[in-house]
Point group: C2
Chain length 300, copies 2
Amino acid sequence: MNHALSFEDWVRAHGQRTELVLESLLDAANANPVRLHAAMRYAAQGGGKRIRPLLVYAAGELGDDSGEEKNNALDSAAFAIECIHAYSLVHDDLPCMDDDDLRRGRPTVHKAYDEATALLVGDALQTRAFEVLANTQCDGNTRLAMISALASASGSRGMAGGQAIDLESVGKKLDLTGLKQMHAMKTGALLSCSVQMGGIAAKLNAIQMQHLKNYSEALGLAFQIVDDVLDVTADSQTLGKTAGKDAANDKPTYVTLMGLDYAKKAATDLQETAIASLESFGAKAQALKDLALLVVNRGK
Amino acid sequence: MNHALSFEDWVRAHGQRTELVLESLLDAANANPVRLHAAMRYAAQGGGKRIRPLLVYAAGELGDDSGEEKNNALDSAAFAIECIHAYSLVHDDLPCMDDDDLRRGRPTVHKAYDEATALLVGDALQTRAFEVLANTQCDGNTRLAMISALASASGSRGMAGGQAIDLESVGKKLDLTGLKQMHAMKTGALLSCSVQMGGIAAKLNAIQMQHLKNYSEALGLAFQIVDDVLDVTADSQTLGKTAGKDAANDKPTYVTLMGLDYAKKAATDLQETAIASLESFGAKAQALKDLALLVVNRGK
């Protein structure tokens, strides 16, 4: 982290870097097929907190190396993780899944376009993530390690698998262990993968990668608990999506299982665990530490 | 090609090899989440002609090398291309796309399971394709070249893009040029990629890869023309899917644009072009040549 920058400035700079990377690596909105490419941009460029790319860049600051290849690897990782995240939201919003009309304060892709286009947008965003990683200007082992990490985190034993368990849990009484397992796959895996890809790009050693894993597992759980808290305490306009949806669907959440106060405390405890995991990195881990604070104290 | 084998034996042997590869590289049907993994197997192991894996293996016979790494690369490529093909069928059959109830003579995935599961099955099959390629026991450059080729062929400038154009073409009067472009993306790109990945695994040089490209472009067009002919001339039971669907949907086809007789002749001409492209490979190309005959003369 450049210590001339405040964390706010750091977030702004790396948020802008993410937008530039998305702008340059997504196909142009007027490239054929136009409707599909425009909808892919609508899905990926519609704002959002960009937490995952920020985690990539923050983890990338932990290494000694700071060459062009590392920067290329970080940009591709930031792009790819955001494409996978965006694809999952587009498919998750479809009528056969969560049937949501609103996302980030705008109509969801199938509302702004149509269901078939939304299906293809998700499919093609996933493909583009792997295509960009494979073609990054950096050494082959880094590219392959990032592709493998992203596929593992987003497939049937990761994000997609977590969504499958989530579907089956509606109306069922999932206990706290079951809920944690589901979220570790559905949301946690991709958050962990963001940090992991940053570490791969920075060529960290195995011990350092283990510290990062401890950080990201605590962060991922905290992230989801805060999500459940906000679903109860914030309104739709603030969230940019439909609030109170989980309760309406009788889905188990950390709030229903733990109670609101205990859920808030658990999130704060996990934030402390996450930050403690970074001790050996010293000042280089400042951005990751600040991101842990941001995740737990966010208002949407 | 082992010349002790007839082509029928070759197809049987490599079809069985494909089934074994699918069996071993798909997650077990009783692995968590069970419903998703069982449905992924239902989608990928439900038969089909396995044309794409056969093209991978046939192109793999063109090189000089025949070591274990080449075999690993070919098996991963056969697996990956079939996963991508299977995912595209599962998503294509969904109500918001073609709304098909029947595929390969069995209920489609969203009929046998449900729409949300079918959506996730397609998503996770795509991811698994890239995961397996990235983790193949062969040199990194081969893995990266295969990943890049597969992503390029299946994304928004390939298969998914072709499907987007296909969606827009319903009820429109697409001309022959437009129809060819659409099919080159929707179906041709993945067929070409099968041959290309076989060539990458066999470490062919640039001139040899160009011959393969000429072969596969002719083959891809022939394949689609025959598809359109069969949609008119075969019944649903023979096809294992709903026949006459294109005409019912007022979709432009080679038959409606060329007439049935001329379409049949065009397919035969393209088959000859494909075979002529392989001349420099000599006897090693026998399986690819026989596959071109199989594609054009198939009854379903």
